[in-house]
């Protein structure tokens, strides 16, 4: 019986770790850009996560929130954005401003 206690404690602790979102490892998400559009942006973003912008278009694009971030993404190239701030960040392609999206970053 005494031997089973440490095991139970370990299992409980492991469950706590899994169920605590703050302890979750940062995720990497991909946003595809194709045919002059930003693809779906993940809804459950957290500070520390990473967005990989995958430009599958034949045109150069950008992911830009003026004064916050501004990434040029060449045709057929990828660019990486690490989310270091919490908040709502509307972004556009600065070259084609009709291309829009929003990043909502939780703590």
């Amino acid at each position: 019986m005494r031997r089973s206690l440490p095991l139970s404690a370990a299992v409980t602790w492991a469950l706590l770790l899994v169920s605590n979102p703050a302890a979750a490892a940062p995720h990497t998400y991909t946003v595809v850009i194709d045919k002059m559009k930003f693809g779906p942006v993940p809804e459950q973003l957290h500070k520390g996560d990473t967005i990989v912008w995958d430009n599958r278009d034949m045109f150069q694009h950008s992911a830009t929130d003026k004064g916050v971030f501004d990434l040029d993404i060449g045709a057929g190239k990828k660019a990486v954005l690490r989310l270091t701030r919490v908040g709502t960040f509307p972004f556009v392609c600065k070259y084609h401003p009709g291309m829009k999206g929003v990043l909502k970053v939780a703590p």
Partner: protein, 173 residues
């Protein structure tokens, strides 16, 4: 003067397209030629702007035109090669080239702010005309699915260019 330009361009495009329409809709070889010509015209206009303008926003727009239209034209060339289609000259392409040559000549005599305004206003008018032709004639007439898809992407791109040019024109007023 600049307000008249769209009408002139539209009139010449429609007039030039009439014989082709009378003989049936343009074929894919003619459509490819028109699209390629339209792109080249805008690249030439942008290169003129880069040689003459000192306005950072105008130069940035012109660089974007060179980059985007070159990308579409490269793709179009690769596609016609793949499809074994030889782009075919036609009255619409000729009318576009003629109108563009006149515009380049007119803009060459302008300087500084006057040039910037005339260039950007013409970009608005030109993209509006080409977008109308793409939407109403070229895309519906295209038979090859890949060509149609490329034209549709081109239309989305050129609509963005038109919006960008309109924003720029409003700032230059």
């Amino acid at each position: 003067m600049t307000r008249i330009l769209p009408k002139i361009f539209i009139a010449s495009l429609i007039a030039a397209a009439a014989p082709a329409v009378a003989a049936g809709a343009p074929n894919d070889a003619q459509i490819a030629h028109i699209a390629y010509t339209a792109g080249n015209i805008d690249i030439a206009a942008a290169k003129q702007a880069l040689a003459k303008s000192h306005n950072a926003a105008v130069r940035s727009f012109a660089n974007e035109m060179v980059r985007d239209h070159t990308a579409v034209n490269d793709k179009a060339l690769a596609l016609v090669k793949k499809l074994h289609v030889t782009p075919e000259d036609n009255p619409t392409s000729q009318a576009l080239s003629k109108g563009a040559a006149a515009e380049l000549k007119k803009l060459s005599s302008l300087k500084d702010g006057a040039f910037d305004k005339a260039y950007v206003n013409n970009e608005v008018a030109y993209h509006k005309t080409v977008n109308g032709a793409l939407k109403d004639t070229l895309i519906p007439s295209a038979r090859n699915a890949e060509l149609k898809s490329l034209l549709q992407t081109g239309l989305t791109l050129f609509q963005e260019h038109q919006a960008h040019a309109e924003q720029l024109a409003a700032k230059l007023k």
